[in-house]
Symmetry: C2
Subunit: 247 residues, 2 copies
Amino acid sequence: MPSVACSGSIAPPTRLRIVDVAVIGGTGAEGFGVAMRAAAAGHHVTIGSRDAGRGAETAAKAGERVGAALDGTDNATAAAGAGADGVVVVTVPYDGQAEIYRSIRGAVAPGAVVLDATSPLATAVGGRPWQVLRPWHGSAAEQAQAILGSGPRVVAGLHTIAAEALQALEQEVDTDVLLCADDANAKARIGSLIDEIPGMRWVDCGRLEMARVAEPLTALLVSINRTYKVRDAGFRIVGRDAWGASS
Amino acid sequence: MPSVACSGSIAPPTRLRIVDVAVIGGTGAEGFGVAMRAAAAGHHVTIGSRDAGRGAETAAKAGERVGAALDGTDNATAAAGAGADGVVVVTVPYDGQAEIYRSIRGAVAPGAVVLDATSPLATAVGGRPWQVLRPWHGSAAEQAQAILGSGPRVVAGLHTIAAEALQALEQEVDTDVLLCADDANAKARIGSLIDEIPGMRWVDCGRLEMARVAEPLTALLVSINRTYKVRDAGFRIVGRDAWGASS
């Protein structure tokens, strides 16, 4: 009965389901932004921190800004809470990345999707933020996968999004998210979460090893921001709207 | 007399001057596109090739497409012809890059601006075009500067422009050109040439060493094209229009 569909009722937004999102390093500027955006999109968000109390405090602060309830606890508890169906987002500086992954390794469920946002900036070793290191595994995301083992499915992304843009909830985020992963389903799941954030759009960049090219883009944006004395440089991939889904 | 400026006469397009542009590797797909675009913008273009006869043939072919006269000769003669005030564009595969630069080293005038478009794709060593090598000097452009010595001023750019897009003269080129160079004047000169090509826009990405991040973007675009089965992925930097000149 096609006429029923035209009766004037408003269709609810298409959403597959509410996802349990754990944001490891959620007390940092980038993680705080991600946590708020995910909560604003209707997901159940838990902010993880090295210190459970600080995690809870930050969750309360984020909840106040968003007008939704977030949980906060320590990193391992947050990671475990996401379960096998949830998403673990890791937004930590490169110098602490390996240690953080070792601390949550036993808590991340096999099959869980892990979004790693690390950029191997040279600030990790006292360098400048427009310089990058070459991680032993090729990229920070491959290092994450190596530490977690083959159970969790690592997706690399969010390298081109400024924390300020994520935190400015009243504004759309005018940039693309370049996603790299070996598991196509994991990549598409993160992609659908990305697409829920106003203005953001995901681009399938291929396998996880492409993070070797995507991660250093943070440094390029830092250099562009520095050159033009701005803070909001971002990337768009030309043509993306016309392509449909990746294959 | 401001009223004279409003008398209805049409101002000619602002152009500082006609530039002598030598395109080394101008018989390749990318170089051929660059040569045609530069000639279409009104510059005097010489196509260089390992073989002078092939250079001349390609120049004639380009001239027919553009409707303007181009010259063609061997690489060293083309490079020398650009002189100290001209621009030498080098569009060659990475596996031949060092040899080509050694062959033109004595011909490039001190002070000349050299635009290097090399991406260190792993195809140079039998790998795939979405894989990149790490050049000993950090980037292919830094290798070029090392071979040329301190006289010529190397600018890295054009890594994100598909040859097909350059050759499709009837269409605008919908992508940004990321330029990296130590010499700000050389960078701005290449930038003004870029801005003359319809649709193209240049972005100042900082020093020449930033080519370490910009050059691998070719591989990322190849991966994106492969993923979506398209050929026209490009980059735009968000916000660029609002920033004005770099400083």
